[in-house]
Amino acid sequence: MRDKLPLALLIILGLFGLTDRFLPHPIAEGFNQYLRDTLLRIISAFALILGLGNLILRHTKKIQKKEEHWQHSWVLLLSFLVASIIGVFGGVNGELWFPTQVGSFHFDITTIYNKVLIPLGATMFSLLAFFMASAAYRAFRARNWLAVLLLGSAFLVMLGQVPLGARIWSGIPEISQWIMEVPNTAAKRGIELGITLGILATLLKILAGIERSWLGSGR
């Protein structure tokens, strides 16, 4: 019963998902919309409570047991607590009763998001440039003829994207464009076709009850 009920629900709702694109009728569309927008949101809200509970318990345990780097857990728990109090009692823009301003210094949730979280995210994102350089260095080492081919096409594509390429020879941007539009697109479409069929086959396996790992039954 533990497996059968979720499986039965999945088969019924999964079939609706599968036929979504084929059924334009407002009743079918409305039901699918309800599943995607309303039901999934309710499940997500409950799961978020479980997730946050897990986060707090995990780090509380780390502090209690003085595990390695337990000090980091204090940073997380305190940040979590402060942000929660400001968010719940101060409102999104500090419109509730909790004071979120001292003089001209604002610390409401929107300000924290804009002035702390976004710059931190941008910092992480900017690391990509350095990671790309190190990854490109490894990828472009001409170890065999395939790597040489990759190096050559990458060089031409990059050169074709900057004005210098056209200054050297007017054909470079055209070659660059051709590489992107013909072999690159062909390879991408081939992979995408495989992905689509893979998705369909996985869906069939799940609907047929062959694939059950996601149920946590261990089968």
């Binding site: 799961a47 931190l120 990828a139 992979i191 076709l193 893979g198 998705i199 069939l204 396996k205 261990g218």
Partner: protein, 385 residues
């Protein structure tokens, strides 16, 4: 801009040159000019849609600079619905009620402000359809593919031995988990940064089940940080189930599967921290990834861990290829759980998937040849309207 001009002209005409001699009941309206009316006017319920839509078509009138489409409910007056340019010959009216009969006519607009109306089309009713006939070819293709997969599953059910192609990245899974066991370090499994509604995440969770069984058998700790709370709850059940299936329910550590944060870049920072501090011997990056893929893969590579990645996000594949030891490309991600479990029915489905792909490949080759050699457009087979 041209459309706006036509609309302006149409509005002025409606106000200034009121339809002298406008007729209802099928008669064409024409003011005192030689501008011919649009001919062969049709108004029909738009096929294969969700309703509330009527398509009006007409043949162009010589000398017209634009057309005004007019609609009236039964017993009501005509109102302008839209004005379109001279090169248009059809219009979709998406502002109608289902089941209500409407009348339509099309007015040709002349350069000097004259207009000439078509005959009236009566009793046009919009209705929603249950099946999108434009996707008939796709539906047949899906059914064909499903039949091939089911046929192979049946063959596997009968106990037939099925040959499965070799996938290097999946053959290395045992070695990767074994390496972590020998080094006394953990296995880090990142189930992508997508949501549970993405099939890539579901495929990743299926792979997680198989890998968790191996870590349970080898007694190797596994660490599964999650970005999405729903994925976290499912991943936890999957790992717990895998440990039970492997006969080691006692070895399951509830904290091994944990929620981190929903923000993708913050998640990348947290997982990078795990990689750098705990230095897992093996990193699995399976599922949908986005901009953070290279941040994770490069950090993992810098720690010296053996890395096996797989994603269905095509733009992220090059990053994984350069930064990881093995990469499952696209559909290999979906094949992985069958490949790892070696369960006959799953292998049958995998074999069916490959055969289905072959059928599609043949269609592509035949379609391309028809198009290149004979100029025949075979696109209608899978037309999406």
């Amino acid at each position: 801009m041209k459309r706006l001009g036509v609309l302006l002209v149409a509005t002025l005409l409606s106000l200034g040159a009121l339809p002298v001699g406008a007729q209802e009941g099928g008669g064409a309206f024409q003011n005192r000019t030689n501008l011919p009316p649009p001919t062969e006017v049709t108004a029909k319920d738009t096929p294969f849609d969700g309703g509330s839509n009527i398509t009006v078509t007409w043949q162009p009138a010589e000398g017209a600079i634009g057309y005004r489409i007019e609609r009236a409910p039964e017993g009501g007056d005509f109102e302008a619905v839209e004005a379109v340019g001279a090169d248009e010959t059809s219009f979709e009216d998406g502002d109608v009620q289902n089941g209500v009969p409407y009348r339509y006519r099309v007015m040709a607009l002349g350069e000097a402000g004259e207009e000439s109306g078509s005959g009236v089309i009566f009793g046009v009713v919009s209705r929603p359809q249950w099946f999108n006939g434009d996707l008939f070819g796709v539906a047949i293709a899906v059914l064909l593919f499903a039949s091939v997969v089911v046929w192979y599953i049946q063959r596997a059910r009968r106990g037939e031995e099925l040959f499965i192609r070799r996938i290097a990245g999946l053959e290395a899974v045992d070695e990767a988990v074994g390496r972590a066991t020998e080094m006394g370090k953990s296995v880090l499994y990142i189930p992508g940064t997508g949501q549970i509604s993405e099939m890539g995440t579901v495929a990743s969770l299926n792979i997680l089940g198989e890998i968790a069984k191996k870590t349970a058998e080898y007694g190797t700790p596994i660490n599964v940080p999650n970005r999405d709370p729903v994925v976290y709850t499912v991943a936890r059940e999957v790992v717990k189930g895998a440990y039970t299936a492997a006969g080691r329910p006692d070895a399951f550590q509830p904290d091994s599967v944990h929620f981190v944060v929903q923000n993708a870049l913050a998640y990348a920072a947290a997982v990078n921290g795990i990689m750098v501090r705990e230095k897992p011997a093996t990193n699995f990056l399976m599922g949908p990834f986005h901009a953070e893929s290279l941040i994770l893969a490069e950090t993992g590579a810098s720690t010296g861990a053996i890395q096996i990645a797989g994603t269905d996000q095509v733009p992220q594949l090059p990053f994984f290829i350069v930064a990881c030891d093995y990469t499952l490309m696209g559909e290999e991600l979906y094949a992985a759980s069958a490949y790892l479990s070696r369960e006959p029915l799953m292998l049958g489905a995998l074999k069916g998937e490959d055969a289905g792909k072959l059928v599609f490949l043949l269609f592509l080759v035949v379609g391309t040849l028809l198009s290149v050699l004979f100029g025949i457009d075979a696109g209608w087979i899978l037309s999406t309207g």
